[in-house]
Each structure stands twice: as C-alpha cells, then as structure tokens.
Symmetry: C2
Subunit: 360 residues, 2 copies
C-alpha cells in the first residue's frame, strides 16, 4: 500500500502508567481531499504532553500518542490541497482542524472556533469516532490549513518546538502590540517562556524576563532580555509599578502566585495574558485588584495560520531558534524525558529525533 | 466672611449608625490657587455612599459626609483657574484631585494616577490632614480639573447622578470601542447600569440589557436596549455564544454569579469590564474559562475630564437624562433613601434637593 491508513506511535494507556510507552499501531482518520500526510522527522515534547498523559487536565481518550510540535515531510497531498507541495518539509502544531466556515475561522481566530476544534491528539473526529493521535509516531494526518511550510533556513530539530511553544508565545505578543516603545514581560522561563523572550525582543519590545530567582538570568540575557526581575527579591514589583504594557504569563502553575503584585506592575489598561493552563483550581480575582490601573486579564490559545507563518519568517529572518536538547525516540528515552519535563529539568525543550530508526 | 472656610453637611459617625445623619460643620481644605468652591444645589446618592457608610468597603475616616454626584454653583474661583467662571453651574464627581504631573495624569488617565488620588469624600489631604467631605453638604471645594461646566440643556437634578454613575458607565464604553457595529451588554440595571444602557445606545452600539428576571425589561427598552437577557431563564447564554464585543458589568454583588457563563457569550478577545466593587471576596478565575474565546477581564475606575465633558455633551445633544427620584435633604429622608438604596428599591437614582432650605 503506497499510503498509510494507519500509523505507528509510542502510546500510553493512562495516567496510572503515564511514563510507560508502548509502540503500537493506530488508525488514521479517513484521508480527506484537503488532508496532508506527514512523515514525522522530529517532535518537541510539550508541557501539554505531560499534563495530558499524567491526568492533570482530567480525563482523556486512552491509549494515547502525544506530541504536537511536529516537523516532517509531506508525503501525500489531497487533491484539493493548495498550501503544501508533496515532498515539502512541513510543520504541524497542536490543532489539526476547525470548521473553517464561521466568523472566527474566517477572521484569523481559527484556534477559537466555537464549532469544532480537533486537537492534534486526543480529540474525536466526528463521524468516524477515530481519536486523533500525535507526533510521537511515524505519521500524522492533518487538514492543510494546519500544515505549515518550514523556511529553508530553519533547522528541523530547532524549529519543531516553535509549532506549539513558539506560536503560543508569539500570538499574544503580536495580538497585544508587542513592539518598539512597549515594555513587555515574560513570566516563567520554560519552553514557552524562553521563546517568548526571544520573540518579544525580535519584535522590538523592551523585554523583561520575570522568574523566581536569578538562576536563569544569564540565559535570559542571551535570549535577548533587556531586564530581569526575580520575584524572590524584596520590592521586585515596586520599581516597576504602572509600567508594563503587556505581560505574557507562561508559568504553568498558579501555586503561591501573588497575582495582585504582578498586576500592580501593569500600566493603565495594560494586559496580563496567560498561556499556561495550570492544573490548580484557579485564582481569586477581586475587582479591587484590577481597578487601580484598569488592567485587563486574559488568556490566549495557540495562534492563527497567519501568525504561524509570520513567526516562522521572523525566526528565519533573525536566526531565532529554540534551545533544544535532542533525544532519540524510544520507550526509555520518552520515560526519562517526561520525568525530567515534570521536574522542569530541561533548558528549554526536548526534541525527539531518530524517527527513521524507531519506525523503519 | 465672604467665602466659607468651613461647610455644613449631614454626617454619620460610623458603620454602627450608618443611617443616623447629623447636621454638622466641618473644615474645608485651605483654598488653593486652582480651587473652586461649589455651593451645592443637588447631589445624587451613589451606591458607593452606602458601601462606605455601612462599612462594606472597610475602615474609613469618620465622621463622614458622603455624596459625590454634585451639581451646584461656582461661587469662588482661585486666581489660576481657567476652566470655570464664577457663577457658572458646575458638577463635581467622585474624585477631586490627582498629581496632575505623571504620565497617567497627562494621558487622560488621571483617575488611575499612581501618586495621589483624593476622593471627593473620605480621603486625607496631604499636609493639612483634613479629610475630604462630600456633597450632602452646603459646599464642596475641588481643584478646577475636577469641576465640570454643565451644558445649559441639562436639568440639575437629572444630570447630578451622571457625575459618578454616568461617567462610571461611559468611560469603559468609549475606552472599549462601544459604537456602531459592536454588540454591547450591560449587566445590572441599577443606577450605573441604566445609564450604561442609555449611553451604549447613544454611542451607536447594539445594546443588550442583562438582568436576572424580566421585571425591568420594559424600562430597559425605554432606555434604548435593543435586546434583553434574563439570566434566570434556561439557556440564556447559549444563544449569545461568541457574540458580545463588550460587556460592562455594573452588578454590585458577585454572589451566585456564574462568571463562566457570562464569559462564554463574549466574542474572541471581547472584553468583560466590571465597574462595581462588590463587598465579597472576589471570584475564582481559571485560565480555562478565558481560553475558549481569549476574553479579557478588566475593571474601570470613573473616567477622565475629557470623557466627562464628552458625556455631558452627548447627554445634551441626545436629551439623555438619569431616571431620578428627587428627595429633599434632611436627616429623615437620608435615612430612608439609604435604606431603600441598600435594598435596590429605587428606579434608578435618588437626587437630593432642597439644599437652600437645609443650609440657609
């Protein structure tokens, strides 16, 4: 058979055994006229993979193959595909479908489609009931709108995490005006945060890294940060009162987080946008904490195709790359990587490699 | 003495006796070169007066004279005053001073001044330590920036509540783009909310009143509402999913308030702006509730001088007026009005009158 109707991937059976990966076959959704099959060559390990696999975000469809920071080769192109050419190097991020017809989809808000959102893994395709599966695998199948040509200058392993972590940081930056003359903060220097610093700087904003301690200050400066705030230090918020236009909160926990102090650093009507989805119960917000500066609090979900292409172009133009540790995909390495991710022990992203060997 | 150095007002001694008003004298701050003395002719009764007097917002300076929806005559003009003429009919709202020098003050954000905000009543003037006192009184003294000429067409008693309730609704509307092509909701049909409906419509927005029951629907329609949502009805949120550009939340309690359902009605990156300051402990907000539509949550505090003048002009141009019940100022009437305010038993604002008789 020239084209796969199923793929192979490293799957887990549920949160009880969330680091126990098994290589298995799984069905792909029926190939549609606008679909693209991608043979996977690299895949980042996202914080979402850990939240999902370990059950922190609640029940999911198992067995499950995670992975949504995918780069590979387009090996099959549906007859109606116009964005992608066969043989092209492409990326796939965390979403593979939306309705495409609604106001939001037509308005570059397809990651907020109210009608249907199919995540790259763990969503049920309508009609068939097939569960979407991610990029710890031989192949993924996606609607062409969600498949992105990768500029030649970008290295496969280095660009892979940009497909989710990168766009997650980039979209709220461009949607909220990060650029020259603006003071932008990035809270949390993990996979998303380190790319946030890089992009905020590349977009021309005065860029501040905000972290608990100064342990990552040197890295932050290398990534382009103009300033560094350590929230374990006395008076960290006082000297920045009423000054930030935008803070993108990339922290993936809200525990011990004194939101009011962060908000006090915002300029009038500045924006505090969270991109992490902490597993905790949320934060208590009083109108009193918002009223001194009329700050706006929001959240952001991935980014549009348009923004994805813009981000990749910017990365190519300015030689930006994820800081990655590569690791060959197999049962043992996946287990180790997941455990290290859980501890935050990676600077700042794993990219899985060696797919040819794992899926010969 | 041609000019007063003290004023008389109806004061309360503290939350324990918050409806027990006593007519007393109190000192005015020393008259400054940019100050204006206003002889009070009408004063609205604001929800803030009730929150403050009854102790719901915490400790205050007592004895206290409330009232910050003031209309009267400018009887004395400091030598540096340029905005106001002696003898002119003017209004004073809920704030009487800010630093005037900082970025915020110079940028029409003087109600968010980080350096100093003197509320019309209950704030301590620097240097003298004199507590500012409000408009249930014979006179108020304010910096000219906070004294607003009242257009001739507007009736004194009807315009008074616009000085706080009106600007509180108007500022978030204009700052967040309420106008033609926008769908705007107003939650809570009280003093602020009924003016919010009126102004949203006058600004050209598709205007929806949002209330618990349909009891106030006829009033809402008269005020200009294009639509009405009753949150006690089944599925009230479903039919408005992803549709509101802006909702101004004028409810003054957050009890039993299922915020996630309200937020689900917002268009992508729509704004939910609260103007009430509920006495409760705040609401738990999860990033998960914000991420489906990337909604922004904020709060708003009064409005700039520029917006105040714009609002008064709009009211004059479109014949807009607060719906008021007038009541002569005296001990008994104040007690009754405060108790009725506490129950929400007024459609939709009290304006105190009869100042000449009370302060001969």
């Amino acid at each position: 058979m020239p084209y796969p109707e199923e793929a192979q991937g490293f799957m887990i059976d549920g949160p009880a055994n969330w680091t126990s990966f098994q290589k298995r076959s799984f069905p792909l959704k029926p190939f549609g006229e606008s679909d693209v099959d991608v043979k996977v060559e690299a895949c980042g390990i996202c914080g979402s993979d850990v939240h999902t696999a370990s059950g922190g975000w609640g029940p999911m469809h198992f067995p499950l193959c995670c992975g949504h920071e995918i780069v590979g080769t387009a090996i099959r192109i549906g007859p109606k595909v116009t964005n992608i050419k066969q043989g092209q190097r492409v990326g796939v991020g965390a979403q593979v479908y939306s309705c495409g017809e609604c106001k939001q989809c037509k308005n570059n808000n397809e990651t907020y489609c109210p009608n249907i959102i199919i995540d790259t893994y763990g969503s049920k395709w309508p009609d068939t009931g097939i569960i979407s599966q991610g990029g710890y695998s031989s192949h993924v199948r996606a609607h062409e709108h969600w498949v992105f040509p990768i500029p030649e200058k970008l290295d496969t392993n280095v660009v892979a995490p940009m497909l989710c972590a990168g766009i997650t940081a980039f979209s709220p930056l461009v949607r909220n005006g990060a650029g020259p003359g603006k003071k932008v903060g990035i809270v949390g220097m993990g996979g998303i945060g380190h790319l946030g610093i890089m992009f905020a700087k590349a977009l021309g904003a005065e860029t501040w890294a905000i972290s608990r301690t100064r342990a990552k200050e040197a890295d932050a400066r290398k990534l382009g940060a103009d300033g560094f705030i350590a929230t374990s230090e006395e008076g960290w918020d006082q000297q920045h009162r009423f000054s930030f236009d935008l803070i993108v909160n990339c922290a993936n926990s809200s525990r011990n987080f004194d939101l009011a102090r962060y908000l006090s650093m915002m300029d009038v009507h500045g924006r505090w946008v969270s991109v992490g989805l902490p597993e905790e119960e949320g934060q208590i917000i009083k109108a009193q904490n918002l009223i001194d500066n009329g700050v706006l609090i929001g959240a952001s979900h991935l980014g549009s195709r348009k923004e994805m292409l813009q981000m990749l172009d910017l990365a190519a133009e300015k030689n930006l790359g994820t800081w990655v540790e590569t690791i060959d995909i197999n049962e043992e390495n996946l287990k180790e990587a997941m455990l290290r991710m859980k501890k935050g022990d990676v600077h700042y992203r794993f990219t899985l490699t060696g797919f040819d060997e794992a899926f010969p």
